[in-house]
Amino acid sequence: MIKKYWSGIAASLVVFCLFLVSISVFLRVYQTGPFEIYLFNWFSVGDFSVSWGLLFDTLSALMFMMVTGVGFLIHIYSIGYMHDDPNRGRFFWYLNLFIFFMLTLVLSNNFLSMFVGWEGVGLCSYLLIGFWSSNKDYLIAAKKAFVMNRIGDLGFILGLLVMILTFGSVQFGIVFSQAGLLPIGHISVVLIAILLFVGATGKSAQLPLFTWLPDAMAGPTPVSALIHAATMVTAGIYMIARSHAIYALAPDVLTVVLWVGVATAVVGAIIALRQSDIKKVLAYSTVSQLGFMVAALGAGGTHAALFHMVTHAFFKALLFLAAGSVIHGMGGEQNMYKMGGLRKLQPITFAVFLVGALALSGCPPFSGFFSKDAILLAIYQVSPWAFGVLIGVSVLTAIYVARLVFLVFFGPLRSDVHVHESPLIMTIPLVFLAVLAATAGIYHPEFEWVMVIITVSALAMIWWVTYSRYAVQVKDDRSDGFMSLDVVYSAVIVRPILVIARGLSTVMDQIVLDTAAKELGQTVVQSGESLRRMQSGSIGFYLWMITASVAVILIGLSIWPF
């Protein structure tokens, strides 16, 4: 019994201890203000040196608490979810590694060690998506996530280089104080802002780099909840919020950020409307909500974005875990059209799912309402147009959430599986998360009564309409390929390129380039052939070469007058 669970228990205990630490850190930050801990000097190259350190301020302490708190609940849940997986030891290993890298990302006091965490969470995401490595599709999804993230990372790296060239440092304090001395719209600041945003686009699944996130649902459900809803995807949000001092100096970039966020919110919501896989709906909804947060950042509403990030972490983790509980109960089935009527078979799951769904669609007493309200308010002050679009997205959100709830929990069961409620070890974290998702909004209780009335009535209408459509008489409107950006990419980018390439190949390639290329290739092949003999595989020969080279270098150095 213990032997079966010990890996999970050990991993959870570690995260729980971290959570306790995070609470004490948060209290200290709250009482005495931010503080920094110097760890060690990482490396020095010339004048440029980087040290590792931990920075605790309100932002990072908040993230610290969120990552460890949600992480702990998900660890507990995973003990139940993964209990008969033969590789659960490895699974918890990866989860803990992920927590480590996420905390590195969040707590570091400079951009470079933050980048270490940034890469690390990407790696863990890759490992966990492809966790069930016997399925080839999952491996492809893992690779896709990794490559998509790498595109964004390239932006991050370039941004770091520009930063080092401009400021000569990557320490947060130095960079932000020096950036403050530059005029608004200074070219290098704009460049840094754009490049960092490219990085955030990859990690936080924004247009056009978001297609990896839905595919990432191949991993075990707790992973989807932890990494692809609550923590890693918020890394981009965190990074932009952290460097808001830079973004404040580049208003044009902020506009770009705003509209990218809005567009992502729209696209994500539309695609979510027509999915049949329960986890895909939630994944696209995550994309859409991340779009909200990015739009809020673009509008300068950092606090609103962070607030939504926290509440979203709670209710999206809750939704994913509850979906996991549904999938667990259905014996691995993820197609919503095969579900139905689970409200009586899985009462606890249904109750918590309802809380999450209401929070996601922004129903007033729940946390989602307050945070979404804050975001919309922030955006309204900057761009009424964006505000209007996002109101529409909110309506779409309510629709797909209602569709999800009705398809899964109402009506008759549309398959012959024996459904059972999940064990306590899975439902207890769910209840905790549900309480959090319901009440997290209290900490920011600013709202307009008008909004409450409008929202409630709109929601009631939407739920009434969708009830008849999805619960009473199921309308099969799935179209998984519809608007899938992969199709769009292949139609808009890949196909034309292929056509042009084919045309060019007949004219240019075969006549002009082929002869040149052939000659060049021959030369390369021949030189490679002759160089290949260097790699004889004989250690003795290598030792000779090493000694001879060292001798040549040493003699060269002593003859050369340096």
Partner: protein, 158 residues
Amino acid sequence: MSDIFFWVFSVMAVVSALSVVLNRNPIYSVLSLIVCFFSIAGHYVLMGALFLCAVHIVVYAGAIMVLFLFVIMLMNLKDVPEFVSKWWHFGAAGAAVAAMVFGLATHLFQSYNPRVIGDMQLKPIAQALFTTYAVPFELSAILFLSAVIGVVALGKSE
């Protein structure tokens, strides 16, 4: 007094090192290398680095050379031709070594700055290891761990 010991140890070290290289019997090579390490340990004592001497003996004579002896005893290596076959290899090796020593000499002799250590104490070394060199120290611990795992994996018969 220490002059005499210096020469004794130096001659011992060079002769046993030559014996490592030139002896045809691998077991004798190993034993010569042990002798060489002991004479180097003697030099450490002369320089006052008593702790280093002890660690040197424990690590080299106590662990590394036992491994060599072990491996050589387990594989009967009588049939391996001990030296390179072609005569010009010896000449080339001599030339390469000479060139290297020449290059080294021109560089090192300018910057070499010997310091009398006196009594090299354990505490400062340990302090340096755990403060200034903490990261390399931890890294070498990781290196050790991975070597242990690697050796176990290599040694397992499939």
